[in-house]
Amino acid sequence: MTQTETPPTPAPVKAPSRLSRAWHSDLAWSFRRAPVAMISAFVVIVLVLSAVLAPLIAPHDPFNPATLNLMNGFTPPGEANAFTGDFFFLGTDDQGRDVFSTILYGMRISLFVGFAAVMLAMVLGVILGLLAGYLGGWTETIIMRVADVQLTFPAILVAMLIFGIAKGITPPEYRDQMAIWVLILAIGLSDWVQFARVVRGATLVEKSREYVQAAKLIGRSPLSIMLRHILPNVLNPVLVIATISLALAIIAEATLSFLGVGAPPTKPSLGTLIRIGQEFMFSGEWWILFFPAVTLLALALSINLLGDWLRDALNPKLR
């Protein structure tokens, strides 16, 4: 894996002074007063760090068959294996892979897909929302109509459909390699509508403000007005939606992988691990299922709580 992880809060690329000021005053202040947010942030940071540093932390490399010993299969957590005497913190699966290591690597894939999908949705949604809001007319009609049609269907269904179509297009021998990218595309494309709607709404408000009129008067091009003047002012809600979308995207990825239409067993995400673990639930090897499930839950729940806090903190009306 050569991907680089993005930091936990997807900070906007061109951070305007308004946002950075907010970061130093209001936001930080309300963060210090919200224990739930602090705990969630802590959990998220620990999980993200351990996923990024997986190759350093993981006691075993679960994808290197040379390090696996079939004799170690089904070692319960916290006990030494009866045959080899090897010790595994969270036990091993049927092939003797260390569950703790597979979780770390699985989380890497889950987080990567989640971040990348939200980034895709955000960039697409913000651009289309800005265009629709600022240009109006036909551009707006077409973009918002497409959004309406897509909104008729649940995002997970749209993602499944995109995954299915992409799978049909890619030749069979590349399907496993492409699965991760197809997942990002599927989840990202299923999620842009929210961003577009919010950005369009905010753009419509900002468009009539004096500073935009002034920028028009001095001959700024529409592109530069949209990117340099309007965009920074509509970023707050985008940030909130992005955080909540991240939790949803991670869950969506896990769901798709669990259903067998996501990350393949050769590159398992948390969802794939849960799918594999489910088979052993009936025979009593609960840990193969339990630990990935708990990790997924902790990740999704803490990002969700963080998003909730962020929404309240950035929305002065709710205070």
Partner: protein
């Protein structure tokens, strides 16, 4: 009212056309249909003949309308995987999904409204707080994990309920039902809880918010001042006014129950349409995918339309706004 109805129906038809275009493009461009239908041993002549037969030599737009015409008659071609007409397979699977959706929908509605009222009336009570906290966790739990958790508890540990399948089914005039046997009913319990739980929390939170809002209104205070009994205020005066948005959301949720049935059906190996769709994706069975897409979009669009009209009919304020402020 009439103008609104017509506009709304036109919108729905537009959505269906777009979805039809997507479904058709899947047929046409994902893999070559001729390739999929002819085996390894074929001559160029066979290919040409089939191409003509299928109408693939016609312009795109002609093909598209032909496809729509066929689809409207319920003809989606043969499944690549099973070699049988897609419509037949779908019809065979539909009862399982519809029964599951019906039971979980009812459960979500009844449980959601009851818990919503409870948490609104006893807002500061201990029980209400417990319910609210649980609902927060319920919303964050992915559906498939709830299913696994229930299977672990009630099938693996306690051994009370089956972990997969529909149990024994009885066939009544082409409709297979699980309602008539003990094992069929038992098999319904866990999947419908899994499917309905999320919707139940949604309805509960909605009823609670609406109810709290209504309870703050003047007419409720007035009813209290008149000395009406608490029960009568809560259920006869307040509840009635909270139900309008509940109907809308519940109606809209009906569609997502069918969509989320995909996940539940996979967890419980429930032989419904959703499981069929997932298998179709895994094996790139395009006709089944396209047919499912068309079917579910007709359902979604239909539900949206009905709910909108219903909303319009129930809430007179909306009507007044539209007619006076419209033009």
């Amino acid at each position: 009212m009439l103008a609104y109805t017509i506009r709304r129906i036109a919108q729905s038809i537009f959505v269906l056309f777009v979805v039809g275009l997507v479904a058709f493009s899947m047929f046409r461009f994902v893999g070559d249909p001729v390739d999929n239908m002819l085996g390894q041993e074929r001559t160029q002549e066979d290919v040409e003949r089939l191409r003509e037969q299928l109408g693939l030599d016609q312009p795109f737009i002609v093909q598209y309308f032909r496809f729509l015409e066929q689809a409207a008659q319920g003809n989606f071609g043969l499944s690549y995987r099973q070699g049988r007409p897609v419509a037949e397979i779908l019809l065979e699977r539909a009862p399982a999904t519809l029964e599951l959706a019906f039971v979980s929908g009812m459960m979500a509605l009844a449980g959601g409204i009851a818990l919503g009222i409870f948490t609104a009336i006893r807002r500061r009570g201990f029980g209400a707080n417990v319910v609210m906290t649980l609902s927060l966790i319920g919303v964050s739990l992915p559906t498939f994990l709830i299913g696994i958790l229930l299977i672990y508890l009630f099938s693996v540990e306690l051994g009370w309920l089956p972990s997969f399948g529909r149990g024994e089914v009885v066939e009544v005039g082409g409709w297979t039902t699980g309602f008539l046997t003990a094992s069929g009913l038992k098999a319904l319990i866990l999947p419908s809880i899994t499917l309905g739980l999320y919707q139940m929390t949604l309805i509960m939170r909605l009823v609670r918010t609406e109810m709290l809002e209504v309870l703050r209104m003047d007419y409720i205070r007035f009813a209290r001042a008149r000395g009406l009994r608490e029960k009568s205020i809560n259920f006869r005066h307040a509840l009635k006014n909270t139900l309008v948005p509940v109907i809308t959301i519940t109606g809209l949720q009906l569609g997502s129950i069918i969509a989320f049935a995909i996940i539940t059906e996979t967890v419980f190996q429930w032989p419904g349409v959703g499981l069929l769709f997932i298998n179709a994706i895994q094996f790139v069975d395009i006709p089944v995918m396209a047919a499912y897409l068309m079917l579910i979009s007709v359902m979604f669009v239909g539900i949206n339309l009905i709910v909108d009209m219903l909303y319009f009919a129930i809430d007179p304020r909306l009507r007044a706004d539209r007619t006076s402020g419209g033009h």
